[in-house]
Symmetry: C2
Subunit: 335 residues, 2 copies
DNA sequence: TTGTAGGCGTTATCAA
DNA sequence: TTGATAACGCCTACAA
């Protein structure tokens, strides 16, 4: 393996000078710079990041922790974040975690290893934050979950109002004349997001003067096509005369629709369906999916802006709500 | 930051003993192990991977390089690979690259930094391999692309026969009675996969005694809904009387279908569409998408088996073709 | 079974 | 503008 020492030897300069050239510093003579760059190119030298990060104390980088690799909304937000940060002199370090990994623990690890100047959490479990976030002592923004209930001075948040958005979805079904509404969502014990959207459902039912019996009209599923398909089957079995379904993600909605169609229901003529997230897929699906569109662009830009505000301008944390949009699609039928 | 030295001091043992405990080695007394583990837990000590990998020469890990983060087929394969390797005493290091990044360069970097015992490439550009793979000197498997044309003794490959599979797709359209067939695919100059599938189309046209005019019936698009949507519009403009479309991925097919429906064509009554990949989405879409299903499970298991064969049993490289399946779906109409 | 000491490849400090 | 040299945190002979 060719190291900085080899480059030093070959170029006739010392490792320090080579290091300076590598890090684009200006206290190097043009001659040295030129010669060293030639040798670097000739040997295809690439610095070893382990050694680099081991030594370096601060790295002008932003860490991004993404919970759930196949979450399309997060994928869109990450892309947008990358695009924004590329324009600055910061670099981005993205770390993909599993759905139920402890993101705060991973954050601590990332800090030790890359020493970023700030952190962006895409998705997060309040339990993990309460347990371990006190040890994180750099500016952070939690994206897509509001952190206003947690009192950490270095933690901002940017999110869609999940309660209001879910309420809006269910309202839309009530307003289309539906009374028997089933809900397909995540585990409200484990997923805080699901918990909030569940709250929104409660509110909507309350406001429309309808009692809400979870045992009857709520069914749990994972955020995947297959799981939602089976969840929909269970839901329909216990609530056979439902006329509308709110699924807590577009993926779930699509799984549910396939299940319903396989049981010979037409969407939306027999059963209406509304999803959540407003990913691209929703408008490419047939029928076009009614959904609640989260503004992923705004979520991305605001979170980056807020993070830089905290890092560079030493601004205070903020908890910001980004408006959502109701997309009517073609999957809701007025009755 | 708490380091191994702190643990040594607090536990009363030396750093080497602590290191031994951390690496689960058995030349440590139970007393030492117990005491040290207590202190580690108390201080929430986590080893610094930079330092670890900087020093460590071999790490019992497998590197996975994934090209294209929103490629659903790859996502499924990665999951399967993780599941398999978890059962062994190896660990997995996944590295997600952009569609057009140089995966071989990244592989070199990964090798320097993590010193894996083997590498799995999900997707790859033959150009990059020809240019730089000679410098990679550990067992590797290229997945979803065949590498039999390249003569590297440490490079195996496992893939679907893209030529035959694409031919099968187009054959299906011919056999349904279609004569005017349009094709929506990637850039055959840049994407080797697209190039091969293009070859398959040529073969099918030839076999059915139909001339193939790329300017008329081939249109280029990226592998995304939006790009395929616009590609389909262009294709239809130059080939207005086509009755069937082969899209080189399911995502493209769905983009194309939306474009066609927006122009008031019915699928499959007016225009038939067949996709490629056979991701979950294909069977959840409406209409169920006709497609060529790549066996992602087999691709995953075979590539891991072959890699371990090379690493542990010093077996020779192999180039293996995994069969594909034709899925008829509901998007092809006999005429 | 345990400890000492040297080194992994880089950056940072200081002196020249 | 340069170059020695000491870290960074960990692993691993080798010695005890």
């Amino acid at each position: 393996m060719v190291t900085i020492k080899d480059i030093a030897r070959e170029s006739g300069y010392s490792v320090s000078t080579v290091s300076r050239v590598l890090n684009h510093r200006n206290d190097v003579s043009p001659d040295a710079k030129k010669r060293i760059e030639e040798v670097v190119a000739e040997y295809h030298f690439v610095p070893n990041n382990n050694a680099k990060h081991l030594k370096q104390s601060n790295s002008k980088s932003i860490g991004v922790l993404v919970k759930g690799i196949s979450n399309m909304l997060f994928a869109s937000i990450v892309e947008e974040i990358q695009r924004m940060i590329e324009k600055t002199d910061y670099t981005v370090v993205v770390s993909y975690l599993d759905e139920d990994d402890d993101e705060v623990e991973q954050a601590l690890l990332l800090c030790r290893e890359r020493k970023p100047l700030g952190l962006l959490f895409l998705g997060g479990n309040p339990e993990y934050f309460k347990k371990g976030f006190a040890k994180v002592d750099l500016p952070c923004v939690l994206v897509t979950n509001l952190a206003d209930k947690m009192d950490f001075s270095n933690l901002s948040s940017v999110a869609t109002d999940d309660v209001a958005a879910a309420k809006c979805a269910v309202d839309a079904l009530f307003e289309a004349g539906h009374q028997k509404i089933g809900i397909l969502g995540g585990d409200i014990e484990k997923s805080y997001t699901s918990h909030l959207r569940f709250e929104g459902c409660l509110e909507s039912f309350g406001e429309h003067g309808r009692p809400f019996f979870p045992e009857l009209c709520y069914e749990k599923a994972r955020f995947s096509y297959g799981s939602a398909y089976r969840g929909m089957e269970r839901l329909l079995r216990k609530y056979p005369d439902l006329t509308a379904v709110f699924a807590m993600s577009d993926v779930m909605a699509i799984g549910a629709i396939r299940a319903l169609r396989d049981m010979d229901y037409r969407i939306p003529e027999d059963i209406s369906v509304i999803g959540f997230d407003g990913t691209d897929l929703a408008e490419y699906y047939n029928p076009k999916l009614a959904t609640i569109k989260q503004q992923y662009q705004t979520l991305a830009t605001r979170s980056v802006e807020i993070l830089f505000g905290q890092i560079e301008l030493k601004k205070d944390r903020v908890h910001e709500i980004v408006p959502f949009e109701f997309v009517s699609g073609e999957s809701i039928q007025k009755i």
